[in-house]
């Protein structure tokens, strides 16, 4: 198809070709094309088939107000062809068709409308109940738009931004641009959002004369739009986002939107959350569809669609056109299209009077037949449009015209979605026929064509007024200017009278009020006959306006149509509600960039080089094991018989100091913190208010009112918050510092641990000088300061060295070198897990869950009950639950058959019912048999009780017996050597 390529309004570059694929054939579009205009240029007239009746559907509007032009692009279904820019190499397919849109075998459904009255799903298929599953399957097969493969992977780059502004202007037409410029002129920071890829709105594609300025320079509307847009570009404090659809408005003037990126952007789509002090809504109008029989036939399109197709994209909608319009923009389009070479058979206007006389004059000059008080009545043509019947409004007279294009529109309708979302109150206005804002939320203003204004000067002045008002909300004193502008606006042309005509004099069986859901005027009648009176209810019953177009097509017609039935009742015309997102948005856009961030310890690289299998554990990446053996036998045995090193840097590490530091510790730790000394570590636990275990760790005192303590890895992030929360009502004087990332931790464990450490320090680390549970600070190689604890988590002689992170790598290498002659090895989390299990030590979240109290775990001895004045968190509950019956208890078990495998973690303990579950179980190399820990009902807690274990796969039961813990070295002698 040839392009008109000399138009001043053109937004495409016809010399720059783009290639794409449509149902297997290669096609060409040009730069700037949307997918819809590119298809139109390739003579595609039937874009897809409708949901229910499989009627052919084509290009109708241009802003994605309906599903007619939803296509599948590169595997993504329901892409709106009208708002998606064409890119090289796109693979485009039609939707809801078997084979091709032109020869859809489901087309017979169109003859089935008598069988599918409004609400027939609800009314017909629920009886008999047993047939419902069958119907459900059939309906599911037929229903829904677009298909997606279950293993589809969404490609693309997504992002999110959270900009702040003084004023946010929604809508980049003349009113919005003026509002933005006005507010920016007051020195305010402005954000301007426009859903199309360029600014200009209704001015952009029109060459009609802009009311000349005082200097008498004549300009077209299009030139004026580009002038304003240029001014915005040069305004330093305006950020303009084009191709950005506003999708939500929330309290506090929070505006959400999504922006479509172009090639040079770092994203394909990004989510925006804009926080503004005040908001201007200038979203203009869309067209209100004219309802007549077969108003959905491809070839029927709205005024703006035909007009923009020509002016913006250089494509003539057809050769022979008939117009049926309801506002002056329609007449303007007639003249432009005629002048470009479209032959116009006839122009019907539903208005009896009120047309712009200049436009009528020009119609007469061109000898275009013009009929007042006439409307399109029926469109004919089996697949695409061939002929049109026009009639008078009453239906008394008819005339037929052959044509391939019918440009039809009942009038305009304001885009009030953003106002509704912001909880503005709208009321029906009889003069304009619009729903106009009656009461706007605080610091929100409306401007422009959406208020019913038509004259360019009025539109711009209303934008100026809104811009000034919004600026005043940001603290600028503008009372005088506002008053003056209001006066100015009063002297200009006010809102124009709007047509309220909705439907031609037809029975309405094939007059579609909603294309997305195939709802006809007859369906609305049926709903009203069934007793539904409010548009909101009729919408639910007939599904009109519930499709992807979000009510763009039926939104205004439905309440107008319904009100015709209420003429006597005096009921106000009520709009239906819209909800966010106003425009369909990818879930991927909401999901955002999906940055996977994690922390690495200072010894990460060394462990990786040593063959560590690094896995995600909470916020960290840690070494799970150092060989292919998932049981880690060599790692475990080396710790038991020789010496190993573990990177425990992820432990939470904190300093708490100040006169009331001890009070804070006493509040959160269940133990007696007043006993914490300088040379000895104290093991204790933190509980929540229910006495359930939250955290365990050790505390040491390093000086007066100065403590160092550790938490489990998982609690490191919340500890500061926790302690401050429980001190929030006290005026305590203490400070807490999170040292988790400032210190690395090495656990040097095994009977030969001391031999390694001795090589590195002059400090006396003998058992006599530095016994079990001791705490010492000394230097390694006279240089590296370390804080060393003798702990027993893995059940062997062990030194836990806390070292400033910057020294961690050096210390790690020193220890590896010193241990090399002995055969020192790394061990990872899996080995540690077995080693601590053999000792009966719990890991929070493994041997406990949210409901597990200290008592349940047999750790009640950690609780020091004689400090009520400390008001320890959890103490009340510990007291209350101390003798509570029926709670699950932590038990140890061995398998009855020592040669059997160990049960899976999480398996349940059963008899006739569930009695508990296995927390963790592993094969113990030290005992040469499987062992495990479980939480089970107290009746099962006695030694030698037989446990029946059920795993979720397989029918075989495993049998175990309860044994005392610890399993390994019950006297704890190995810790104390």
């Amino acid at each position: 198809m040839n392009r008109l390529n000399r138009l001043p309004t053109l937004r495409v570059n016809p010399s720059e070709k783009l290639t794409f694929n449509y149902i297997g054939s290669s096609c060409q579009g040009v730069k700037g094309d949307t997918v819809a205009t590119a298809l139109y240029a390739n003579d595609v007239r039937i874009f897809g088939r409708s949901l229910k009746y499989h009627r052919p559907r084509g290009l109708y509007s241009m802003d994605g107000e309906c599903s007619n032009c939803c296509v599948e692009i590169d595997g993504i279904p329901n892409v709106r062809a009208e708002t998606t820019l064409l890119r090289n190499g796109m693979n485009i397919r039609p939707q809801n068709v078997r084979k091709s849109p032109d020869t859809d075998i489901m087309g017979f459904m169109d003859k089935m409308d008598w069988a599918m009255p409004a609400g027939f799903y609800y009314r017909c298929m629920h009886k008999p109940a047993k047939l419902w599953p069958f119907f459900l399957k059939q309906i599911r097969k037929a229903a829904g738009l677009g298909r997606i493969s279950p293993d589809f992977h969404m490609k693309g780059r997504y992002d999110e931004i959270y900009p702040n502004a003084d004023v946010c202007v929604i809508g980049g037409g003349a009113a919005g641009m003026t509002a933005a410029l006005t507010a920016a002129g007051q020195g305010l920071r402005v954000i301007l959002l426009e859903s199309r890829p360029w600014l200009g709105g209704f001015f952009d594609y029109r060459t009609a004369e802009y009311t000349p300025s005082q200097e008498g320079i004549s300009r077209t509307l299009c030139e004026r739009a580009r002038e304003l847009s240029e001014q915005l570009e040069n305004a330093p404090n305006v950020r303009t986002f084009v191709h950005t659809a506003m999708i939500g408005a929330y309290s506090n003037n929070l505006i959400t939107a999504f922006q479509t990126g172009n090639k040079s952007d770092a994203f394909d789509e990004r989510y925006m959350e804009i926080r503004a002090k005040s908001v201007v809504v200038a979203t203009g109008c869309i067209e209100r569809p004219l309802l007549f029989d077969n108003n959905d036939r491809p070839g029927v399109m709205q005024v703006g669609c035909a007009h923009r197709l020509a002016q913006t994209y250089g494509l003539l909608p057809g050769e022979n056109a008939v117009f049926s319009v309801g506002h002056d923009l329609g007449l303007e389009a007639v003249l432009d299209l005629y002048d470009m070479g479209v032959s116009v058979a006839c122009v019907a206007d539903v208005r009896e009077d009120g047309q712009d006389p200049h436009l009528l004059e020009k119609l007469t000059e061109r000898k275009i037949p013009f009929m007042r008080g006439w409307t399109a009545h029926t469109a004919h043509g089996s697949k695409t449009l061939e002929k049109v019947t026009l009639s008078t409004l009453s239906g008394a007279q008819h005339r037929e015209f052959d044509c391939d294009t019918l440009v039809a529109s009942a009038g305009l309708t304001p885009v009030t979605g953003p106002l509704t979302l912001a909880q503005a109150k709208l009321a029906y206005d009889n003069h304009t026929g619009f729903f106009l804002p009656e009461k706007l939320p605080e610091k929100m203003y409306a401007a422009g064509r959406m208020l019913g204004l038509q004259s360019p000067l009025s539109i711009e002045t209303s934008g100026k007024l809104a811009g000034l008002s919004a600026a005043a909300d940001c603290g600028t004193s503008l009372e005088h200017e506002i008053k003056q502008t209001r006066e100015e606006l009063r002297n200009l042309a006010g809102p124009v009278r709007g047509s309220k005509f909705v439907t031609a004099p037809v029975r309405g069986q094939k007059s579609f009020i909603c294309f997305d859901e195939d709802t006809t005027v007859k369906n609305i009648d049926q709903a009203i006959q069934a007793g539904f009176d409010a548009p909101e209810l009729i919408k639910r019953f007939t599904a009109a306006g519930t499709g992807p177009g979000q009510g763009g097509i039926p939104g205004h017609n439905l309440p107008l149509l319904v009100s015709q039935w209420h003429t006597d009742s005096g009921l106000a015309v009520q709009p239906t509600t819209v909800r966010p997102p106003l425009v369909p948005t990818y879930l991927a856009t909401y999901a955002g960039a999906k940055h996977d961030m994690c922390k690495r310890t200072p010894a990460y690289e060394s462990q990786k080089k040593a063959g560590g299998v690094m896995q995600r554990a909470g916020v960290w990446k840690r070494a799970r094991r150092f060989s292919d053996d998932i049981r880690c036998q060599e790692e475990v045995e080396n710790v038991r018989s020789n010496v190993g090193i573990l990177d425990a840097s992820t432990l939470g590490k904190f300093r708490i100091f100040g006169p009331d530091a001890l009070r804070a510790l006493e509040r959160v730790y269940v133990g007696d913190m007043s006993k914490v000394s300088e040379a000895k570590i104290r093991y204790s636990a933190m509980c929540n208010e229910d006495g359930c275990l939250l955290d365990d760790g050790v505390v040491v005192r390093r000086g007066e009112n100065d403590y160092y303590f550790t938490t489990s890895t998982g609690r490191a992030g919340q500890t500061v918050e926790w302690i401050r929360y429980h001190a929030r009502y006290e005026n305590w004087d203490f400070s807490i510092v999170n040292l988790t990332d400032a210190f690395g931790v090495i656990n040097l464990a095994g009977p030969n641990a001391r031999k390694v450490l001795e090589k590195l320090t002059d400090a006396d680390v003998s058992n006599a000088a530095f016994p079990f549970a001791g705490y010492r600070e000394f230097a390694i190689r006279d240089t590296i300061p370390v804080r060393v604890m003798r702990l027993g988590f893995v059940g062997e002689l062990s030194f836990e060295l806390h070292v400033p992170s910057s020294f961690m790598q050096t210390l790690w290498e020193l220890i590896e070198d010193a241990g090399k002659p002995l055969g020192i090895r790394n061990f990872g989390l899996e080995a540690q897990n077995l080693l601590r299990m053999e000792k009966g030590h719990v890991i929070i979240g493994s041997e406990s869950e949210q409901r597990t109290t200290l008592h349940d775990l047999g750790l009640g001895f950690l609780w020091y009950r004689d400090k009520p004045q400390a008001k320890t968190v959890g103490a009340v509950a510990l007291r209350q639950t101390e003798h509570q019956e029926g709670r699950l208890k932590l038990i140890g078990f061995r398998m009855e058959d020592a040669s059997s495998r160990s049960p899976k973690d999480g398996s349940v303990i059963v008899d006739s019912t569930i009695r508990g579950y296995v927390c963790s179980a592993r094969h113990s190399f030290a005992l040469n048999e499987p062992i495990g820990m479980a939480l089970a009902e107290p009746q099962l807690a006695d030694t030698d009780t037989r446990l029946e274990i059920f795993e979720d796969s397989g029918d075989d039961r495993l049998y175990a017996k309860v044994v005392p813990m610890p399993f390994y070295d019950p006297e704890g002698e190995k810790l104390r050597i």
Partner: protein, 83 residues
């Protein structure tokens, strides 16, 4: 998030930065003679005012302090204290 919260140290910020800390129920009661019911009321039960309530917030992605604000639970906007 539509909610904004004014941290006494950092100023007005997006609600995403904060963690909710519950209604303002006053200091912890004495353990002496405390009935399980009273304890449960203090720790778990809430007034759930439809209107302006005083409540705790923690500036998690900021200065790390706990403070109270007044919030209108109907509009989800910060409010002035009411008598």
């Amino acid at each position: 998030m539509a909610l904004t919260i004014t941290c006494p140290i950092c100023g007005r910020r997006n609600g995403y930065e904060f963690r909710f800390g519950g209604e303002d129920k006053g200091a912890r009661p004495d353990e002496e003679g405390l009935s399980p019911e009273d304890w449960c009321d203090y720790t778990h039960n809430n007034t759930c005012i439809a209107g302006i309530q005083k409540e705790w917030w923690y500036h998690r992605d900021g200065c790390g302090s706990w403070f109270t604000i007044h919030r209108n639970t109907i509009t989800n906007l910060e409010a002035e204290a009411t008598a």
